[in-house]
Subunit: 461 residues, 2 copies
């Protein structure tokens, strides 16, 4: 049997996510409805009908104001602003679905682990274990300023802090409440056994947290951990902590190498490389016929905004493309503290030096390589080829417009992939971790740094 | 027409709220189900059927470990632990209701206003303006320790911080995005007008937040502000900020005086005292007949836990009642930094000195004065008398067991109150603030310290 591909949808609680300028498309419902509960519950129902594994919710906690040293381009073109907190749509979506899981992005740089741990446990309880946390360290300088800092915490320090943040979190989730602590014993008047509820007494460089954890153990205890680190420090962090790895690269080969590198590193940390599932971006423009699909793509292209693309790039990379005015000069990066190695991807793996004009032009048009365009068979072929070339386990499917792009995918591409035996027709039972790694694997697997905090006497799987 | 009474239900995301020991009651579904989404959605449907104004969600962010210098009594008897984050049930409840509002408790002591403001805006968006924030400053020493502090921030400093926290919040909610900033103008390619999205450039003693706010204006902008301060500093804070005041006192007269004092203070701040609605506790044990109600009360009494009551008192007051061993001595408070003037309520307004024995005994039994017990007519009489004696605008109805106590109230008491013309039969339209203060009053009213940040050109009501 062919290997089945995992599929998430990649979303954001904003009028616009990554399809720059496409808020203007008249069928793009998110533009008006991203702040309505029924936008999210309808989306969840659609994704469950399409047998998606999870809805992956991106987030930032600041505005993109590096480009032109101003927030104006972002505000004008809805570049991930306005932006609501993505966490709160999850319970409403969970209440109308049974199997769809939810991966929530939260930064370790601007939260406190004690309150954060309770938030994650609550979401894991309310979704009955259909929950993942995408750990990020935040790249926007405007976020740092709004949390009262004069400048961003340096990239590598953010990862040190994140590492300790996760350590505190694992202790709260895994070590504080033993399995069986809640007995609910009416006769002996014991709701929970105090001997099985432990303080964690964490004392580290960044945090001092005595505990105990406030929530009783949720179905998965630790939510499934996503991570998307691409710098050396980020890859090390992913190799240690990630159960799902979100990687992108300028080429499929680059993506493949990144995955292999993280898996090798994971092995050096004593983990089984198969305990990490790798995901990369996917964007699809599909219609019944090739011609219709091409026409759709052309329509999206007309609405594309290069200014929006540059504004987002500015915030996420730290490079202000408006500073590059000599169009014929060779494009060169200046040093940045942002630490997004993604920034370097414009030139990396490209032996030919690009001119400033070439780089700027690459932002101005919706490029074909950003999406697989075609009829259902062509798109399925493209996905299979991309799947094999990258060595990923699954995709985070982004969109041009919502729900339109996703409806198209569910109605046209999913049946074709199912026919080919590479897309599930029914959900597996259990929590998100069990659906990903197999029945009985509700908790962090052996070798994961969080697993060591579980009490030995706890023998449940 | 008689004045209609406002009714909230007082709840907590925990196996037990204030009915000490009653987690043991076999019909108390919360004991097992407080962590399930359908517990909350069923509750919301019940409350909307009963025409409740709002569900008021209490919260603490620590364990009650002052009594016997240990967390054990609290854990054994489910004294507000385990405890989930109450915010996440709200979107699921909002998705199944149309009119019920939600008041969420969040402490200003351990959150950052920039992230917090987006959370509140998101909840106001998703509920379509059916949202209130109960501002607390946290009384548990264990919370302080878990946020890395050696000791609690002093009571009055917590209020200074809360005051600045609210100032930052108002600026983000009221001053950052002008009305009409989001134009969604496809032809001119402008989603939002950058000239109408402002930085707030807050620089204060505790916070430095340049802004802008991440969320676009929600239906109410600032959620309805609840506050329950009872100390002198707390009353001053409430007089300045509260739109809903939650007061309790040892006697109805004491409650009445507290309300009048806050309203007088509010006037001195330039506010209309009618812009503050006052609520106090209500607990009801009702059945078709007096005999059945009495039998129920006796059953609850048998399950009562004095240890749980003392454990909660320890955390909320700072006084460890296990230290008082000379039963015949006169009970006297020692100085505490906790600052809960509630602590003093055991003796305040009581000219007679109590002995330690009398004080301890008052915790050991479920006392009649904690609840109105009787048939529907008796309970309605009791509520009317209590309403008049306290001068409140409404009640936060607590429970012995859930949903049982609330089902009884909805089925037996609400129709009786409706018959008397003091309970609404239909909801008013609009946001929570409009439902409370009248149509068109979606936003903070004139004289409120947050209202001054609204842009003059914004003329919407």
């Amino acid at each position: 049997m062919a290997k089945q591909i995992l599929f998430n949808v990649f979303e954001m609680s904003s009028a616009m996510h990554n399809s720059h300028g496409l808020w203007k498309h008249p069928a793009n419902e998110r533009t008006r409805r991203y702040k309505d509960l029924d936008y999210w519950t309808e989306l969840a129902l659609l994704l469950e009908r399409g047998r998606f594994d999870a809805l992956f919710l991106a987030d930032v906690i600041g505005v993109y104001d590096v480009y032109q040293k101003s927030k104006d381009a972002s505000i004008r073109d809805a570049v991930q602003v306005p932006l609501n907190d993505p966490a709160f749509a999850i319970p409403a979506m969970a209440s109308v679905t049974e199997h769809l899981s939810f991966a929530l992005t939260v930064s370790t740089t601007y939260e406190h682990p004690y309150a954060h741990a309770r938030r994650m446990s609550t979401l894991d309880h309310l979704t009955k274990g259909r929950f993942a946390w995408n750990v990020v360290t935040s790249y926007l300088p405007s976020a740092a300023r709004n949390f009262g800092l004069n400048e961003m915490i340096k990239h590598d320090d953010r990862y040190e802090l994140a590492d300790e943040f996760l350590d505190v979190s694992y202790k709260l989730w895994e070590a504080s409440w033993e399995e069986g602590a809640v007995v609910n014993d009416r006769e002996n008047k014991v709701f929970a056994d105090p001997a099985k509820v432990h303080e964690i007494n964490h004392e580290g460089r960044f945090f001092r947290v005595p505990g105990p954890h406030l929530s009783e153990p949720s179905p998965q205890r630790t939510p499934v951990i996503y991570q998307a680190g691409s710098s050396p420090k980020g890859k090390e962090f992913a190799a240690k902590h990630a159960e799902c790895l979100f990687v992108g690269g300028p080429t499929p080969e680059h993506t493949k190498q990144s995955i292999q590198e993280v898996k090798r590193l994971a092995e050096s940390y004593g983990r089984n490389p198969d305990d990490i599932k790798a995901f990369t971006f996917l964007n699809v423009v599909v219609a019944e016929t090739t011609e219709e699909a091409e026409a759709k793509f052309e329509e999206y292209k007309r609405l594309w905004s290069g200014e929006a693309a540059k504004a987002q790039y500015g915030g996420s990379s730290g490079y202000d493309l408006s500073e590059y005015t000599d169009l014929d000069a060779v494009f060169e990066y200046k040093h940045t503290e942002h630490g997004q190695s993604r920034a370097a991807s414009l030139t990396k793996d490209n032996p030919k030096k690009l001119t400033v004009r070439e780089v700027l032009e690459s932002f101005d048009t919706l490029k074909r390589r950003f999406a697989i365009v075609g009829n259902p068979q062509q798109v399925a072929d493209g996905i299979q080829a991309y799947f094999e070339a990258t060595g990923v386990d699954g995709f985070n499917l982004t969109h041009m417009i919502t729900p339109g792009s996703l409806v198209d995918f569910v109605d046209l591409v999913v049946p074709e992939l199912q026919k080919r035996g590479i897309y599930k027709t029914e959900y597996a039972p259990g929590t998100y971790r069990e659906k990903l790694f197999g029945q009985g694997k509700r908790h962090l697997q052996k070798g994961h740094p969080g697993a060591k905090y579980r009490h030995a006497e706890k023998s449940t799987v």
